[in-house]
């Protein structure tokens, strides 16, 4: 549902195709981007590090939304793909001495290749079967992370060198923030534009009705693989950034729980929506932190509360996902649209 402002006339096709339609929206979006760049100067280190996590989650969520939300190929292996990105980036930097700025896209390419290997079953499988195939990918990759000790350091993990320009190291929350936020903004712009292009529309067609899509001349296998590749590339980048942010990576982080976490993000935010990925990423990063905060407050009042809530934390997560699916299946992005439409038309909503 799209409601335009009164008097918002379009005179050229180009005008109509703009991403940011009105001057009002343009002002706020550009303003927000500028705000993002001055933000670490005014915020505390804790808030900045939280924003870093949100930024990485946004990139990862956009990646998985491309394959799952837009192309309709359920992927349960995103956690492991994140790991592939992180470990290969660390390997390139540690063993081959490649600078981060080159190693990150290379790690993205490696992840894209791995993603395509596990995307091959999508030729014959769909829906549920594909979900199970990617689940297998997750477990196989997890096994490799633990046992390919030359690359991943086994269960000890590996050091992740900080990115550097000349003698300047991006090794604090504030400095790595600029790297993360730049990549996040670029990824958002790229994804938004992807779905205005031929390939992006083909993805959506494959999701909506793959038989019709094929009849209209869309090469199913090619576009399914392509969406796996693009998605894994972005997830690989997110993995590299995660490495640069934490400076030390272990296989423990890249488990099935992480895959589920990312799936939950796009479901809560809204599948097949760029804005939805962002909302979902913010939501799923903030909720655990709010929970921890609530726990520490409660612990002062009643000492048993802390342990109880910590053990229920995962369950509260699960409960949020279940409730969202039952009551708000289209996610936050959809709800936000409804709220906007309501206030635009207020008080005459008919």
């Amino acid at each position: 549902m799209s409601v335009n402002h009164c008097g918002d006339f379009k005179q050229t096709y180009k005008d109509d195709m703009r991403v940011l339609q009105t001057r009002f929206i343009r002002f706020w979006v550009y303003g927000f981007v500028v705000f993002l760049y001055v933000f670490p100067l005014i915020a505390s280190t804790y808030v900045v590090s939280l924003t870093n996590m949100i930024g990485i989650a946004v990139i990862g969520a956009l990646g998985i939304n491309i394959v799952t939300g837009f192309t309709g190929q359920i992927s349960l292996g995103q956690g492991a793909f994140l790991g592939v990105g992180a470990f290969s980036c660390a390997f390139f930097m540690n063993e081959w001495g490649i600078p981060f700025w080159l190693a990150m896209p290379m790690a993205g390419l490696v992840t894209a290749a791995v993603g395509m290997i596990f995307g091959i079953p999508s030729l014959r499988l769909k829906g549920l079967y594909l979900a199970i195939a990617t689940l297998a990918a997750q477990f196989i990759l997890e096994y490799l992370f633990l046992h390919l000790e030359g690359i991943t350091g086994g269960s000890n993990g590996v050091m992740f060198p900080s990115p550097q320009v000349g003698e300047f190291y991006f090794d604090t929350d504030q400095s790595i923030y600029y790297v993360i936020i730049t990549v996040a903004v670029l990824t958002t712009i790229y994804t938004t534009n992807l779905f205005r292009s031929k390939d992006g529309r083909a993805f959506v067609a494959v999701r909506d009705h793959y038989l019709s899509a094929e009849i209209m001349g869309i090469h199913l296998f090619k576009y399914r693989l392509l969406s796996f590749a693009i998605s894994s590339f972005i997830v690989g980048i997110a993995g590299s950034l995660w490495g640069a942010y934490t400076q030390y990576i272990t296989p423990e982080h890249f488990t099935i729980a992480e895959s589920i976490n990312y799936l939950a993000m796009i479901i809560i935010g809204g599948m097949g929506s760029v804005l939805g990925s962002i909302y979902g990423a913010i939501f799923m990063t903030l909720v655990p932190n709010l929970l921890s905060y609530g726990t520490s407050v409660l612990a002062n009042v009643w000492s048993g509360a802390g342990d109880l809530i910590m053990s229920l934390k995962e369950g509260i997560f699960g409960l949020i996902v279940v409730l969202f699916l039952i009551f708000e299946p289209d996610g936050l992005a959809h709800r936000w649209k409804l709220i906007k439409a309501y206030w635009k038309l207020y008080p005459f909503s008919y």
Partner: protein, 296 residues
């Protein structure tokens, strides 16, 4: 030689429990087309509940067993009514996610109630003196688990073939609309499917709890059952049984052999999934599953 026989036997036992869980999974999938990622957690909840009955409240085994079954039925009805019924008609991914969410809720409730320590049944369900079978000592738990699993599998096979409820369930699986027009209450069939599935899972949980002890990792059974159901064909009861046993044996053999030959560790966790990928590439609808054929 004895090494191989040991591998085979423990593989068969493990496989028969996989078969039970796979049966529970297939029953739900077949009649309600819900992919239940929480199957392993239901198994775990059943095992823990029975543990509470036996160890904490000193209920005799037979009664503990029956009370656990009743508990499973109640849990099944609640889950079906509150969580899965609103999801009818939603896309596959939402249904998968809702069961994943459910599994983490169950897992955390279990940790909150019973903690993370490994628990053992005391007294155990079966005496722990091993029996000699053709010169090879086998513990009684193994024999009982294997026997009980086979009996249950046969019973459910007969149930689906001959009883009225079983036939109604197969009709519902074939087509909800046709079943409705034949006067079958599809809602009731869905509830029944969940009840059967949870009861079977709880039995599986109690058996495996008697072999390995109970802890939170029992939930992994639910994920490792996917290779079994895919091999057997997702919607086939017989397939679930056969697939479970084959995967159990394959898992044990690949683990045992690769460990002795190449010294590889931890193959047990990953071997079923490697098989899964191979099966999906070669024969995605499994041994006994219905092939979906689409013509344009």
């Amino acid at each position: 030689m004895e090494f191989y026989v040991q591998l085979l036997i423990s593989g068969l036992v493990l496989g028969s429990i996989y078969a039970l869980v796979a049966l529970g999974f297939a029953i739900i999938y077949k009649s309600t087309s819900v992919v239940n990622f929480a199957q392993g957690e239901f198994l775990m909840v059943g095992a823990y509940f029975c543990f509470s009955m036996v160890v904490q409240y000193h209920v005799p085994w037979l009664w503990a067993f029956l009370i656990t079954m009743v508990f499973s039925v109640v849990l099944a009805l609640l889950v079906e009514r509150l969580v899965l019924r609103p999801m009818i008609g939603e896309p596959v991914i939402s249904i998968i996610m809702v069961t994943i969410g459910l599994s983490s809720v169950l897992r955390s409730v279990v940790t909150a109630v019973w903690g993370t320590q490994i628990k053992t049944y005391d007294p155990p369900l079966f005496p722990d003196t091993p029996i000699n079978l053709a010169g090879i000592p086998i513990s009684q738990v193994y024999l009982w688990s294997f026997g009980l699993s086979i009996v249950l599998l046969v019973l459910f096979g007969l149930f689906f073939k001959y009883t009225k409820a079983g036939i109604a369930m197969r009709a519902t699986a074939f087509s909800n609309q046709v079943a409705l027009s034949m006067g079958i209450s599809v809602k009731r069939i869905f509830a029944l499917a969940w009840c059967i599935s949870l009861v079977v899972s709880s039995i599986g949980g109690i058996l495996i709890g008697n072999i390995n002890g109970i802890n939170i990792s029992l939930g992994h059974f639910g994920l490792k059952v996917f290779p079994a159901v895919i091999l057997g064909g997702l919607d086939s009861i017989l397939g679930a049984a056969v697939g479970g046993i084959i995967i159990g044996v394959l898992e044990n053999f690949s683990d045992g052999l690769l460990k002795t030959w190449f010294g590889l560790q931890g193959i047990k966790e990953v071997a079923p999934f490697v098989f899964l990928v191979i099966i999906l590439m070669v024969k995605p609808y499994g041994l006994f599953g219905t092939e979906e054929i689409e013509r344009v």
